[in-house]
Structures are given as C-alpha cells and as structure tokens.
C-alpha cells in the first residue's frame, strides 16, 4: 500500500510517499502502527483532530477499513480557495 503525506505532515515525517506492508484493518490501526515506528511519525500523528485522511483519493475517516485500499493520504485540513 502507498502512503502519501502533504504539507506539514510531509515535512514532519520527512517523506512525500512511501510503500508499506501492513495488515492494519483500519486507518486508525495504520496510524498506531506508523506511530510506533519512530518519533517523527508519533509527532505527526499526535493529534488526529488536526489531520484528515483520504483513501484512494476520496476523503474518508480514521475508522474506515483499509480492505482493498491502494493509496492512503494524510494531510492537515485543506486551505483551498
């Protein structure tokens, strides 16, 4: 599965994209798994209320299942317009 990061999430983790092997059932499980890896992930995911998630380029939420998902994106609330 590909994970992509944007804005300050990308800067904090230090990566724009990575491929991970995971058996996480939901987005929240994936977040727990990543946060356990290294401090930079834990710092980026410290406050989930400050984050948004998209699954295969559609906005989703942290309870969503990851079955069949190819791309997960984490980013701060959007500031378009």
């Amino acid at each position: 599965m590909d994970i992509v990061y944007f804005a300050w999430v990308r800067e904090r983790i230090g990566l724009a994209r990575e491929e991970v092997e995971t058996s996480a059932a939901t987005v929240a499980d994936l977040v727990t798994e990543l946060s356990g890896r290294e401090e930079r992930y834990a710092a980026a995911f410290a406050d989930l209320s400050a984050l948004r998630v998209a699954l295969d380029q559609e906005l989703s939420d942290f309870d969503a299942p990851l079955v069949g998902v190819r791309e997960v994106a984490f980013f701060p609330p959007m500031t378009g317009g």
């Binding site: 980013f75 500031t79 378009g80």
Partner: protein, 148 residues
Amino acid sequence: MQVRVQEAGFDPGAQSNDFAAGCSGAGAIVTFTGVVRDIEGGGLVAMEIEHYPGMTQTALEKIAAEAEARWSLADVLVIHRYGRLKPGAQIMMVATAARHRRDAFEAAEYMMDYLKSRAPFWKKEILLDGASEWVAAKADDEDALTRW
C-alpha cells in the same frame, strides 16, 4: 463544466470574457477571483500552494457537479493554481452562468465555500525574514459549509 488545475498564471478578464462568450442565453454571470494577500504590515515574499495531484481535479469536478445539480446553471468554470505565487497574483477563479442572478451568485458562493475546505490544497507563507508558516484552516470556513 470547465475545471483547470494549473501552475501557470491566468488573466481573469480574458477568462471571464471567454466564459461569457460560451454561455449565450445566460442572463447572469458571476465571477470571483482569489488573490494572494500580503500579511498585515507587509513582508510576504510568496505563497507556496501544494496540492494532491491525483485528487485535486476530481475533488474540484465533484464540487462543480454538485453546484450544477443544485442550481440552474448554463456553465461553471473553476481555475485553481498551485506552486509559488507572489502577493497580488491570482490564485483561483470561479465563474458561474445562469438565466437568473440568484442561481449564479449562490452557486459561486457554494463552490467557494467548498473549495476552501474540501479541495486538497495547502498554503504556506514565505516571509521576508526567511521564516515560513503553513496557513491554518479556519473554523469559520468549516462552519460555512453548514449553511448549504
């Protein structure tokens, strides 16, 4: 519907004229142009706009399609830039054409409200002293969606 995500600048006047020319029969055309605003007291060197290439076009088309479903519109135009923009530069533009002005105004406002918080763009301010800061989303912008 015309939706364009681009790095290049654009001329809002020319875009507006082209859009109007393609909407014969529309009695009302509303356009909105968003411009890079300097910080208070000056000192903004640039605004860097990041986006999610795979998702941006689809997200904008979805917002435009919803506007077309809710109001009686002849056409809709959305242009949104990304990359490094200087103060005073155009960031984005929305145009709506309808037989009557209420549809055109409301649809344009609806699209602006959704573009603010549902289109995958992130803005970073680059300041004169070399500092940079991500622009935080405003609670007001999120609240604005509840009126629709």
